[in-house]
């Protein structure tokens, strides 16, 4: 596929890296020569210097025969205009744009769905990150919560803790513990080892990171098998009242007690106007006195969401040391994400989240959800099976007959409204949505081929 990426920032760069690995022709456009140079040294891509909205720049980038334009520059306006120019001049089939401003998003229907601004897919990183954190807070104990089928099925990552009923025992016992709850463990990541594709006899050890799939209502029950489940969270403290912090506080304040710490007084005033029930504090999350004054020891979740990785990490460590039960930390630099240890419970990477939602549109075949996991090493996807027994390699086959690579497990199948957990004897039918878990992302092309429809299918 020929893809033009506008903007070589965090998201653009990481995206280029991901996609270049997958045999795509990538052209990255940016106004900063140095950024482009650094990118080109590292990756097998083409770069074009210039303003992404200018027709000449797009022309140089090969817009005439590009399959897709992904506009992720810092400016909403350039992104939208570039999509418009590419569509008007070059009829680019797929146009994806990042739009941050909530003002544009509020008028989503009139502006984008009507075709007035020809953008096929809107990506709003702040919204995505906010939603992600919101789910982590709503599901105590989870490290990651991923939606499939509009949230009816979830893939949840939980760290096993000694004392959970199933920890130290074989996985198949789960069914004896909870006969009415159907779940499937998709993978287990053990510290310092390769990912384990679980079988009935696999023993869960403490500190294992367990990925399981279950219907939304069963998440809590399954989590409680793996660890003592935290009580539902109530007191949330957010450090950093930027876009993400403000949106998060706004969404949480109805159900939780929210405190927002922000350094700029002017921003505090804006926040306090915007928020109804939250308490807006003027100060910094790295002042122990302020944290203590505001009862950090009784805080359930401390979210460090400033735009500075180092501050976020230090603040979270401080908050944990002072007694916060859980820390969620925004970390943009993926190198840091590997460094962090026990002090920080959950590291959120905005690029990872943004890229997950972008990948869905880049993939071949009928893929309706992609989630990038473990910093891109693993992936969970939702793919639709098409065709019939003759034209497809999956339709009409039992799951245990599928010719899947060893690192791929089937998690669940959605048939219309019904959710089927993937047991070996389930037969795939046409139009089933299959949720797959890939512990090795390199196997994606094998999966794409497997689900591709043969020539017999019209």
């Amino acid at each position: 596929m020929k893809i033009i990426i506008l903007g070589a920032g965090q998201v653009g760069g990481t995206l280029a890296e991901h996609l270049a690995d997958e045999q795509n022709d990538i052209t990255v456009v940016d106004e900063h020569a140095a950024t482009l140079k650094r990118l080109q040294e590292r990756l097998d891509i083409r770069t074009v210097l210039g303003n992404g909205a200018h027709p000449s720049t797009l022309m140089n980038a090969g817009a005439e025969d590009a399959d897709m334009l992904i506009a992720v520059t810092d400016s909403d306006e350039i992104n939208m205009l570039a999509c418009s120019v590419a569509f008007t001049l070059y009829r680019t089939p797929t146009k994806i744009s990042r739009v941050r401003s909530a003002d544009y998003l509020a008028k989503h229907k009139a502006l984008f769905e009507s075709g007035a601004i020809p953008v096929d897919v809107i990506i709003g990183p702040e919204q995505l990150v906010t939603k992600n954190i919101e789910q982590l807070i709503a599901n105590p104990g989870s490290l990651q919560v991923l939606d499939f089928a509009e949230g009816r099925i979830r893939l949840v990552a939980v760290k096993a803790v000694a004392g959970g009923p199933i920890v130290g025992r074989e996985l198949q016992e789960i069914r004896e513990h909870m006969p009415r709850v159907d779940t499937r463990v998709a993978a287990i990541f053990r510290r310092g080892g390769d990912p384990i594709i679980p079988e009935g006899a696999t023993v869960v050890e403490p500190d294992d990171e367990v990925f399981f799939i279950a219907a939304r209502e069963h998440i809590r029950a399954v989590t409680s098998e793996l660890r003592e489940v935290d009580k539902p969270y109530n007191r949330i403290m957010i450090a950093g009242g930027g876009n993400i912090g403000a949106t998060l506080a706004n969404r949480l304040e109805k159900d939780y007690q929210v405190k927002v710490i922000e350094r700029s007084y002017d921003r505090c005033r804006v926040l306090s106007d915007m928020l109804e029930n939250s308490i807006v504090l003027h100060g910094s999350g790295n002042e122990p006195l302020l944290l203590q004054q505001e009862n950090i020891e009784n805080t359930d979740v401390f979210c460090a969401l400033t735009d500075n990785d180092e501050s976020n990490i230090m603040m979270s460590m401080l908050a944990k040391r002072l007694g916060a039960k859980k820390a969620i930390t925004l970390i943009t630099n993926s190198a840091y994400a590997d460094l962090i240890g026990e002090e920080i419970d959950i590291a959120i990477s905005p690029q990872q989240i943004t890229i997950s939602s972008l990948l869905m549109h880049v993939r071949r075949g009928d893929i309706s959800a992609v989630h990038s996991l473990r910093r891109g090493a693993a992936e969970a996807i939702e793919v639709t099976a098409h065709g019939d027994t003759r034209s497809s390699k999956v339709v009409g086959r039992r799951l245990d007959e599928l010719n899947l690579p060893s690192s791929v497990t089937v998690g669940a199948i959605l048939r219309g409204e019904a959710v089927l957990m993937a047991h070996g004897d389930v037969v795939i039918e046409a139009d089933d949505h299959v949720i797959l878990f890939l512990t090795d992302r390199a196997q994606i092309s094998a999966v794409e081929k497997l689900f591709a429809v043969g020539f017999g299918f019209i």
Partner: protein
């Protein structure tokens, strides 16, 4: 001349005001009650004064500046109050002194409802109608004052209502032009008056009484055509009708306009001032009813009906009475008098300091408490989901302080005229909040107050009605400097 424009406007107002004596002149000609000459003289004098002011200034046309604004506003009640007193002073049926006549006239125009006249039931219709009409006209003046002038002058935080500072809630500016807004509000005022008249008539009043009482109900005045006020009527439904219209008239007329325009009552629920006002009145009514019951002051039915009616009447600063509430357990009359400090909502015909200001002061107090718990918190004071500017809050605070200061001064002055403690206290509360009836010697009638005392109370009524600052600013030397 500096105030030429102000004089021109007062001239026009006087010419218009002279017509207010026409209906009574006709009534008195029809009834042959012998007061025609008093009304004719009043009409002629007012007309003459108006024309004299208007003639030399009629060709002037320039925009009013802020000093003219203060001048016109203050003079409106003072000058009209003086000229309105003429027929009352000259009427042969009324043995009023000049001070008494001025007191009665200003009490009418400021919609206070305090009276020095006794034997109302035997007075000719022309005089009775004239008093009620004074209140009704005063009500119109208040609406214009509250919606157009006070916000412009920014009295005591009323810049909140300035159209250009409306911010996110677009409700505040009703129509694009101020004349349009005034017309819309006058329409509401007229509509309420007509509805009230019809309701009173249906509830059992005579047509004359229904019109007269509708005038003083919608204006939150409190003048009645009977010595016993609304206690004259045996029917409870008259009291209920009255309660409903007093409440409606004490709510911001701008809200009525929007509610009518959108045909939705949700507008009221969403307005914090109205919600606060209704909550306070309802809680007070419950306390009053319960106390009347438990002290066995009245029977069950009377406790509920009269408790409710009297609470609404006093708290909205109307001042109709059914019972001699001064003989109720002392807590109750004092509670009701204190409530009248709140009065109605901004933009209504009610008196007092207005529910909005009390609400802001209350919220400010709560804010301080929260700030003590979270010293670093940035806590905005919000009203209808938007931030209230610090200047507004400090203006409200200084309004409160000055209001109270003036209250104490007038109270002391009144004590100096040999009035007893409770009568003086209640008289100042009742006049400054434009309420009407007080306690002690001034329960139904202010006849017992000395002549200088009456003039002091006139000042109190004007002060309350003009929101203190408008009158005080005229007394500052800076105002008169060029």
């Amino acid at each position: 001349m500096q105030f030429a424009m102000a004089f021109k406007i007062i001239g026009v107002l006087l010419i218009l005001f002279s017509t207010a004596m026409l209906p009574s002149l006709f009534l008195s000609l029809i009834d042959k009650d012998g007061i025609e000459s008093a009304f004719a003289t009043g009409l002629a004098a007012t007309l003459f004064a108006g024309v004299m002011l208007w003639l030399p200034t009629r060709h002037l046309s320039r925009d009013l500046n802020i000093r003219d604004g203060f001048m016109v506003t203050a003079l409106f009640w003072v000058v009209l109050g003086l000229f309105g007193a003429i027929p009352l002073w000259l009427a042969p049926d009324l043995p009023l002194t000049l001070a008494g006549a001025i007191f009665e006239s200003i009490s009418g125009l400021t919609t206070t409802g305090a009276t020095v006249i006794t034997g109302l039931d035997s007075l000719p219709k022309s005089l009775l109608f004239y008093r009620q009409l004074l209140q009704w006209l005063g009500g119109i003046g208040i609406i214009v004052l509250a919606v157009a002038i006070l916000p412009m002058l920014g009295i005591g935080g009323m810049q909140l209502y300035r159209a250009e500072s409306a911010g996110p809630s677009k409700d505040r500016k009703l129509t694009p032009r101020i004349t349009g807004t005034a017309k819309a509000l006058f329409g509401i005022y007229l509509l309420l008056t007509i509805a009230c008249t019809v309701s009173y008539f249906v509830a059992g009043m005579s047509m004359f009484d229904a019109i007269c009482h509708a005038f003083s109900t919608v204006a939150i005045g409190g003048f009645s055509t009977h010595d016993a006020s609304l206690g004259h009527y045996e029917q409870n439904r008259v009291l209920l009708v009255s309660s409903v219209f007093m409440l409606l008239s004490a709510i911001n007329f701008g809200l009525h306009f929007i509610a009518l325009q959108r045909r939705s009552v949700r507008v009221y629920a969403r307005d914090s001032e109205t919600a606060f006002f209704v909550t306070v009145i309802a809680s007070a009514a419950i306390v009053v009813c319960c106390l009347l019951l438990t002290t066995e002051t009245l029977s069950f039915e009377d406790s509920v009906i009269h408790g409710l009616f009297q609470t609404i009447s006093i708290a909205t600063t109307t001042g109709f009475t059914t019972q001699d509430f001064s003989v109720w357990p002392l807590f109750l009359p004092i509670l009701l008098l204190i409530l009248s400090f709140m009065g109605g909502c901004v933009g209504s015909t009610g008196g007092g300091m207005k529910a909005m200001r009390i609400l802001l002061i209350f919220r400010q107090g709560m804010r301080e408490l929260r700030q003590l718990l979270h010293p670093n918190a940035v806590i905005p004071l919000k009203l209808d989901a938007r931030r209230v500017q610090t200047e507004v809050i400090s203006a409200v605070w200084s309004f409160f302080a000055v209001y109270m200061f003036c209250f104490v001064l007038i109270w002391l002055a009144l004590l100096a005229t040999n009035l007893d403690f409770i009568s003086a206290f209640s008289a100042v509360v009742a006049t400054m909040n434009n309420l009407g009836p007080g306690l002690g010697e001034v329960t139904n009638n202010y006849g017992a107050v000395s002549e200088p005392g009456k003039l002091i109370l006139c000042l109190a009524m004007l002060m309350g009605r003009l929101e203190v600052f408008t009158l005080l600013v005229l007394l500052t030397p800076a105002f008169w400097r060029h």
